[in-house]
Symmetry: C2
Subunit: 210 residues, 2 copies
Amino acid sequence: MATDTSRLPVASGRVAEIREVALSLFARRGYHATSMKDIGDALGIRAPSLYNHFESKQQILVEVMRGTMEQLLRDHIDALASTDDVVEQLRRATEAHVRYHARFRDEIQVGNIEIRALEEPERSRIVLLRREYSDSWEALILRGVGRSVFRVSSPRLTAWAILEMGIGVARWFDPAGEMSETLLAYHYGDMALRLVGIAHAPAASVSAVE
Amino acid sequence: MATDTSRLPVASGRVAEIREVALSLFARRGYHATSMKDIGDALGIRAPSLYNHFESKQQILVEVMRGTMEQLLRDHIDALASTDDVVEQLRRATEAHVRYHARFRDEIQVGNIEIRALEEPERSRIVLLRREYSDSWEALILRGVGRSVFRVSSPRLTAWAILEMGIGVARWFDPAGEMSETLLAYHYGDMALRLVGIAHAPAASVSAVE
DNA sequence: CCTACCGATCGGTAGG
DNA sequence: CCTACCGATCGGTAGG
């Protein structure tokens, strides 16, 4: 439960260092406001030396963004596969979503904001993965509605509301703050249940029919 | 109900044109990815001519962002002042929030993303207004909890969840799409009520005690 | 509103 | 990993 979702394969050392520094700068200032010199300075090397590890600034962005959506989708699928109870699926998927957004704040911020700075075909690839993710959420809500376990007026809006409130976490969560990532996930899990019309359900109050 | 929340005072013509074009470009590409030449091109004039109307690129950003938070706060205060019923306050505040985010999508996007490109003291001024806004939301939830009308496990998280799900609207809402802004606002109003523990309340099912 | 022009900085290459 | 350097573009000014 501590650090289950690993980052990308921890590459050759310098490459990983560059990616990490760039991620931090892109998140704080933005891709276009970050120069190769900025990245080099943060590592104590000259800007041209970066080209020994990356072909271009754009390729650094690609590497920074690669893997984020894939990992999010993997955690999501695990949450769904862990139970047939649609209530529990919703809770676990929400917890996974919130945990991910609390833990990988920079990745999420850069992923969301700098997608517009990403060139094709990488950009379309990520847009597609996102679409896949939100579609799966909508399907989950629809499944719960179909089993008469959820009651919502718009499955799509409900799915987006849950997604968006989780994305917000990446903007303000402070891992050094009073609230732990785990407690945060529980709270959001409960809120998601409320959004589908389950007033105050403790963990196993509704069991799946299947 | 159609266009109640007006934009900024419609300034001298060219100034307003520049602001509008810049808003659109900043929203689509970002502040740092937009050059003065880009703005000029969109208006059919040369970049240096822009300096007859604005002192700097930064000042254009300031003018683009100015007023957004103020108007949002005004609509919010109106919603709160319109009734003493805390349930109705929550519903109307949510509707106002969502309407604003559906209508002024570019303003919201630029306001949220490019605040990091904004120089002091303007930046702190806007951060303060935002703080004011979210504080008012938390106070609203607390009021409902105090009157035993709302039931939440964390007033602050609930406030943020409502705010964030509304902010998401600015990212995907399509005014030319099937769902109207008004219907959207209703749906989100209902979802906000659910988040505070009011399962499926039609407009006046709970009346305030005061 | 324009042209002409400024110094600074950009991403990136050459060549070692 | 470095220095030296490239053309392009940046925000902005001068001067009319």
